[in-house]
Symmetry: C2
Subunit: 457 residues, 2 copies
């Protein structure tokens, strides 16, 4: 193979420095998940195709990566479907498994499958990659990490309150200060659809509204018209597109609009509950804001919905989202299990943190010390010392070859290793080591005990 | 969907308890990798198909999970191949990507792709899942985790010495005492093939020999005969099948057999180097043993090869393996970069640890305290306290609903939460909380400060 190898579009290699930063982020998120009482689960990277297909809408189905059946199983290819240009059907005849598209549907599957082992309410978190055959762009990858926290088995609105706090705790700890946690409620959207007389088109209506940021008010109007929503009805929405003021002021406008809709008024009550308790308790650095045009594409949401925007000045799609779903597990045959959850978009948050330059300098996994290699006898002398240091927790590297000194020092430099130890004939005779601090340039002869003291924290 | 959902054969869900144990294992392995100077990288879950195909032999190719091309791309299906029952060719016409089969080939690809950013010798570790369409059995899954440490860019045998130490450090720290680190050398195998006159059949010879444990001496003989190795040649191998004694005694027998083979003698010299230095420095709990029948299936090994067997009494396939490869990156066009590495089979080691019962009891992510929910006013009173505790690092859970007390206590019991806090009208009036220790049954009224002192480490 002559040409330089590459990786598939939308995927990434992570260098040591990047992995260290990602590990740091995940450890912070994990820590807060656990402080809020969530416990980890993990599900397989691929699920049975029928677990995933049909759960994310038509567009979602198209973005699911399918795994080709192995060996002779491909004999079952539905050639007629291929002939009829029905590629989805043809593909499905070749595939029984598909890569995870998000963590929510696998979680619902998990809850139903393990319902007899689970104590409800069940608070779980999950931090795993997901895959989507989406067009890659800045902050959008074909393999990316989600970090989700969900509770199932309770309708309590305190969970919405705590999830807002959880967002605030994580982003504040990561140094991503000033995110906006946008909140809305599907019942409010239902109420709006009801009062403008488009209740039967609720899904079309919310899917279109969700795109306001991307395609603007005109684009939304156009999509709604195409979906058969009356122009007069759409006109009634105009005030929503221009809604301003603080949380309470926006709620007041909504109340006015929705007084005829019982469902809409309940949505307003739920938003009030969350907003009031968050106001009482206070957030560290995040802001909670009502965003009536926030719809979130996924159809399973039924109550409060969330989306997190990066701090002002940072251009980036949403860095988190979630909401309340009253019957997610119903798709797998377990009814009446309400759930609510939020997700952190690790990869985008990473980009935001890079842009804001908020990764701590201590996030590094460079060795603490490099032992130079001066030959077999010398290395045999050094190895017990290296071994002892490692057992005490020191990250100690040995240069593998007895190469030129310059080359070995250069290796230490490039890897940002702060100390170098060398032991040649002279040191061996005196049963000592030479320790050199590469930052200060200071160099001294030390005993094994002294070396241990210098390098062990 | 009426039937209970399930997951694909050979995959697993991990419960909170299992994830906690796996996290613990990974943190121990990670710690030692870093102490030995390795730094982490990560590669995508799927690679371009041509990166993987042809690298693991015919059998390996069949076990690679291929990802079906998306959308209209399946039009390019090679129907003629299907008609000719050439399923591999048909499959390849439908797929451009494949799931990682191991971490070694993606690592080689990474090194070649990023050769200009890498400082050699490059010591990297990688802990990620891999996928194989293998028949599932005890300790063998279709999705499983490998933890690899490799060095590329140096031929130094000190690395083999350090990798043996690394195995010992990890297994000893995990409490898996008494593993056997089997070592052999491909040059010894070459030498044997040479002296029995089957040099041109080296690969067939080593692949067959590798199966000695599984199919016995007779099976190996049969396979070798089938591959065209002369019966007289195979007869010469008999002493190897019965080799006994300590490391040095076995080496002496080998020396006798291989004195005519330059390559074989070099293999012996390498084994001596590793064995002698390991003997001098000593291992904590592992044993290093020469196993001349160890061949390891993969063709890219060229020097020392390793395999780790679980402690005596535990039935389990190998829990680790690795070796020296002199030209792995050559498959991607970068020649003369020697490498050596070892792998830990996380999933099997987990099963071994369960069997030996060596997971520490402290491996748990249960909350430290549960706040009972006695109603909205009471919870509004408790929430600032919960928030303050979490900010101090306490894992504090709030029961979401104001359910019956019995139910809430049961929740704490089942989740093994040691403390419960409740605050009703009486406590609120006195600005206090009631703290109950569920282990001792002790219960007392405390102030916010006292509660903080009791629960914060």
């Amino acid at each position: 193979m002559a040409k330089k190898p590459s990786i598939p579009k939308g995927t990434r290699d992570f260098s040591p420095n990047e992995v260290a930063k990602r590990q740091y982020m995940m450890s912070v998120i994990r820590k807060h998940f656990e402080r809020f009482g969530f416990q980890p689960i993990e599900t397989p990277s691929f699920e049975n195709a029928d677990t995933l297909l049909g759960k994310y809408g038509e567009e979602g189905d198209r973005l699911i990566f399918k795994i080709l059946n192995s060996g002779e199983k491909v004999k079952k290819a539905d050639l007629q479907a291929l002939e009829e240009d029905n590629y989805a059907k043809f593909s499905n005849s070749l595939s029984e498994k598909a890569l995870r598209y998000d963590l929510t549907v696998p979680f619902a599957r998990y809850v139903v499958q393990h319902q007899n082992e689970i104590d409800f309410p069940f608070k779980r978190y999950q931090m795993q990659p997901v895959w989507r055959a989406d067009r890659p762009q800045k902050g959008r990858f074909r393999e990316f990490w989600q970090c989700d926290a969900d509770v199932v088995g309770s309708k309590s609105l305190w969970q919405e309150v705590e999830l807002v706090q959880l967002y605030d705790a994580v982003f504040s700890d990561l140094g991503v200060n000033g995110v906006t946690i946008k909140i809305n409620n599907r019942k409010v959207l239902s109420g709006i659809a009801e009062v403008i007389g488009a209740k039967d088109k609720l899904i079309d209506f919310t899917v279109a509204l969700d795109k306001l940021d991307k395609i603007g008010a005109d684009g939304v109007r156009k999509e709604m018209l195409e979906k058969g929503i009356a122009e007069s009805a759409i006109d009634k929405l105009q005030p929503l597109f221009d809604l301003t003021g603080n949380f309470q002021e926006k709620l007041d406008v909504l109340k006015q609009l929705l007084q005829e809709s019982q469902e809409g008024m309940q949505g307003i009550e739920e938003l009030s509950f969350v907003s009031n308790h968050i106001e009482t308790i206070g957030l560290q650095t995040a802001h909670l804001d009502l965003e009536v045009t926030l719809a979130r594409g996924l159809n399973y949401y039924t109550g409060c919905i969330f989306e997190v925007a990066a701090p002002e000045g940072v251009k980036m799609g949403s860095i988190g989202g979630g909401g309340r779903y009253d019957d997610l597990t119903g798709i797998f045959g377990l009814n009446n299990v309400s759930g609510v959850g939020i997700s952190f978009g690790l990869d985008r948050i990473y980009l935001v943190m890079e842009e804001l330059n908020v990764f701590p300098e201590t996030v590094s996994v460079s060795p603490n010390v490099l032992f130079l290699n001066l030959g077999e006898k010398e290395t045999a002398y050094a190895l017990p010392m290296i071994t002892a240091l490692r057992r005490k927790g020191v990250r100690a590297d040995l240069y593998p070859d007895s190469a030129k000194m310059g080359k070995q020092f250069q290796y230490a430099d490039k890897k940002e290793i702060p100390f170098v130890v060398l032991a040649g004939t002279a040191e061996i005779e005196k049963n000592l080591f030479t320790l050199k601090n590469l930052q200060s340039g200071e160099q001294k002869e030390v005993s094994a005990d002294q070396l241990m003291n210098e390098l062990v924290d």
